[in-house]
């Protein structure tokens, strides 16, 4: 009798515990990009399927980075899931700060993730974050202005062609700039863009012994080219323009060309937001004549679980929901195929419904053309194309891009900016014990 009662009590307690484990409330930090905002709108589907509630903390990119970085380094435990990128994932994974995602269910089909995305979000072969969407960068251009200028965009143009086309498309009287590019300070903004531009001119951040390379002629060539082209054909104030500012200019019909993230393609071709939706063409990011590296990057916004969370199982369920094929189909059903999160799964690019989207092929080609393990012409000791995957880079990258932005604004010469970048990078690397 006694044992029977205790059995019943134990079973009831176990059931209760299982019940409470089933209904968790997950706190998720994410970035305020369009695709993530869409995901928030669809969270009900996740709650309906699993019973878990979700609380969102939506932040602007730079603020998100600081919040999640501080939270993870101080073991603050504010979030059960974090939206992080290809820069953070391998570093945090190596430090043991993230829950490995090596036991995702068979139906999730982890092998379907694009190899470049999977590699960029892993450390030592273990996946630490699941890609929500992946991107490279490419040229988006106005087909009507190109035609008016009497030019034809090749699939893989050079910087020299782009400069010529930009000058031909510029029409200052009608407020049309031949080319809009990022100049805003910040490692993930203008810093990312000038780094890939540098790569495509044969430049690199560091030599094999971690010596800064801004005193090399390739950097001077790349930066001078960029500044001259933007002064000829760029919008005024480009030194403070980032992704969002250029997106807005392009959508208003004020840019002939824009080289930026492939995810922007769905925004510039959406007739609800863009005045030029039906006049946009796509091409691979350019390289300088005679240099075998293109100026395209590789990035993924991904979901990761901080190691300290008590709700790892529920968090994994969320990851399986948000980054699965099922989610892609859910978005397609509600918002159309052009708006599904791109660049994460191979099967999406084999899907007949998606193949017809005008930017699908160029996005995939751009992603496939990016190699984070060999980002530059000359050998480098680091991984990463538009960033250097070391913990110190966020600080150094931002300070260097601030010096470059000051050169874009005409506050100092390109040579001064490069000399300062060289000094501050070497200082920081010395402080961190690399040199």
């Amino acid at each position: 009798m006694y044992s029977k009662t205790s059995f019943v009590t134990a079973t009831a307690a176990a059931l209760l515990m299982t019940g409470s484990a089933l209904a968790e409330t997950l706190t998720i930090a994410t970035v305020n990009n369009g695709d993530m905002i869409r995901m928030q709108g669809l969270t009900d589907d996740f709650t309906k399927k699993t019973g878990h509630e979700v609380e969102w903390v939506t932040l602007e990119e730079n603020v998100l980075r600081q919040r999640v970085t501080t939270d993870i380094t101080t073991k603050g435990g504010a979030f059960d899931l974090m939206t992080i990128g290809m820069y953070e994932t391998p570093i945090w994974g190596k430090n043991g700060w993230l829950v490995p995602l090596d036991d995702l269910s068979a139906e999730y089909n982890v092998d379907d993730l694009l190899p470049a995305m999977r590699a960029g979000l892993s450390h030592d072969g273990t996946l630490y974050a699941a890609p929500f969407y992946g991107e490279s960068s490419m040229i988006m251009y106005r087909t009507d202005l190109m035609e008016k200028a009497g030019l034809e965009m090749p699939d893989a143009p050079t910087w020299q062609f782009i400069r010529k086309a930009a000058a031909a498309m510029t029409d200052r009287d009608n407020d049309i700039n031949g080319i809009c590019l990022r100049g805003k300070a910040g490692w993930g903004e203008g810093g990312a863009f000038i780094t890939v531009t540098g790569n495509s001119f044969g430049a690199r951040w560091f030599d094999e012994n971690w010596n800064a390379q801004f005193d090399q002629p390739e950097w001077a060539e790349a930066l001078n080219f960029f500044v001259d082209m933007m002064n000829e054909s760029g919008p005024s104030g480009y030194a403070t323009n980032g992704f969002n500012e250029n997106l807005s200019l392009f959508q208003q019909g004020r840019c002939g060309m824009w080289i930026d993230a492939t995810v922007a393609a769905s925004f510039v071709t959406n007739p609800n937001d863009s005045t030029v939706a039906d006049k946009v063409g796509f091409a691979l990011a350019p390289n300088s004549e005679g240099v075998d590296k293109k100026s395209n990057w590789l990035w993924a916004w991904a979901l990761a679980i901080p190691a300290g969370t008590q709700k790892a199982d529920a968090a994994k369920e969320f990851i399986e929901w948000a980054t699965s094929n099922g989610y892609i189909e859910l978005v397609a059903e509600k918002e159309g195929w052009a708006n599904v999160p791109p660049g994460a799964r191979t099967s999406l690019y084999e899907n007949p419904n998606y193949k017809d989207i005008p930017f699908a092929k160029m996005t995939l080609d751009s992603i496939l053309a990016a190699d984070p393990n060999n980002p530059t012409v000359k050998p480098v000791p680091y991984v990463g194309i538009q960033f250097v995957a070391i913990p110190e880079f966020a600080g150094i990258g931002t300070e260097v891009s601030q010096e470059f932005s000051a050169a874009y604004a005409g506050q100092q010469s390109v040579e001064e900016a490069l000399a300062k970048a060289q000094a501050l990078t070497n200082d920081a690397m010395e402080a961190a014990g690399y040199r």
């Binding site: 805003k184 104030g237 600080g395 604004a409 961190a432």
Partner: protein, 292 residues
């Protein structure tokens, strides 16, 4: 007169508040001092639990040796000085204007004070996107309307732009304090001077301004304390680029962007020293007015 007994009682009753306030100040201060002598790079795996390496004054030397240090001190002083000049000069003028009898005085006064209630981040965003944007901003339309090339405010004139934004926020505070002071001015004195034939400028210089000196001192003291730690406006508008990196911003960059807690803490200690030097200087030079 307080007895020995009542004084003891007062001390006992005040003790909890004093201890709490001291703790509030001393704990972060001691921690900053502690970290400033340590190598603490959280992203490289350093943590309190593993013990931090003692590096002596290396962080202090490195912080001052950085090429960003002196420009940041310069930027801090230019912003503080610029905002003080603008707010005090315009504050006196506005206070005198608002003191004049006029129709709808109450509404006008509320409107003038309104910017003070807007959050710094919001006001910075509004200025950046609605007024100073070189492509879509209101100022650029005005410039274009008269056939001029729009000014790229936040990149080509970053420091003056920041001074303008911050002054806009602090002008109501200065105006409010100075208006209260002007209202306490004896009008008979002014009338007597006017009857004696003193011109407006002399009346202002010899009567109004000396009367306002205490209020001006208070405005300068309080604003300086707040302006030395100005951050949100810079973060939102320029992100520290174009020579707008103040000492506070540099510390933020060292601790949060570079994740070098030791180096940033050494910067924090320098900031405290700088703030104290400025405070003592102000108390000595300007604060004399308060005794008069």
């Amino acid at each position: 007169m307080a007895t020995q007994h009542s004084r003891s009682a007062a001390r006992i009753m005040m003790a909890p508040a004093v201890i709490l306030l001291l703790g509030w100040m001393l704990v972060p201060l001691t921690m900053t001092l502690f970290f400033s002598f340590k190598k603490y790079l959280p992203l490289r795996g350093d943590s309190m639990a593993n013990g931090l390496e003692w590096v002596g004054f290396a962080n202090y030397v490195r912080f001052v040796g950085s090429s960003s240090f002196w420009p940041s001190i310069q930027a801090t002083l230019i912003i503080v000085g610029g905002v003080l000049i603008v707010t005090v000069v315009l504050g006196v003028l506005l206070a005198m204007l608002l003191d004049q009898p006029m129709w709808g005085q109450g509404v006008v006064r509320i409107l003038v004070i309104a910017p003070f209630f807007v959050m710094p981040t919001v006001s910075a965003l509004v200025w950046k996107n609605m007024f100073m944007d070189p492509n879509n901003g209101l100022l650029s339309y005005l410039w274009k309307a008269v056939g001029a090339t729009p000014v790229e405010w936040l990149s080509q004139a970053a420091l003056p732009s920041l001074i303008m934004i911050v002054s806009w926020q602090w002008l109501p505070f200065a105006t409010l304090i100075l208006l209260t002071a002007i209202q306490s001015l004896d009008s008979e004195q002014l009338e007597a001077a006017e009857m004696d034939g003193a011109p407006l400028l002399s009346r202002f210089w010899y009567i109004i301004l000396p009367h306002l000196s205490r209020a001006i001192t208070i405005v300068i003291l309080i604003q300086t304390i707040f302006l030395l730690s100005i951050f949100a406006e810079i973060f939102v508008t320029t992100g520290g680029a174009f020579g707008t990196k103040t000492l506070t911003y540099l510390i933020f960059q060292r601790v949060l962007e570079s994740q070098n807690v030791g180096l940033g803490s050494a910067g924090g200690i320098y900031a405290i020293i700088l703030a104290n030097i400025v405070a003592i200087f102000l108390m000595r030079i300007v604060g004399k007015n308060l005794d008069a």
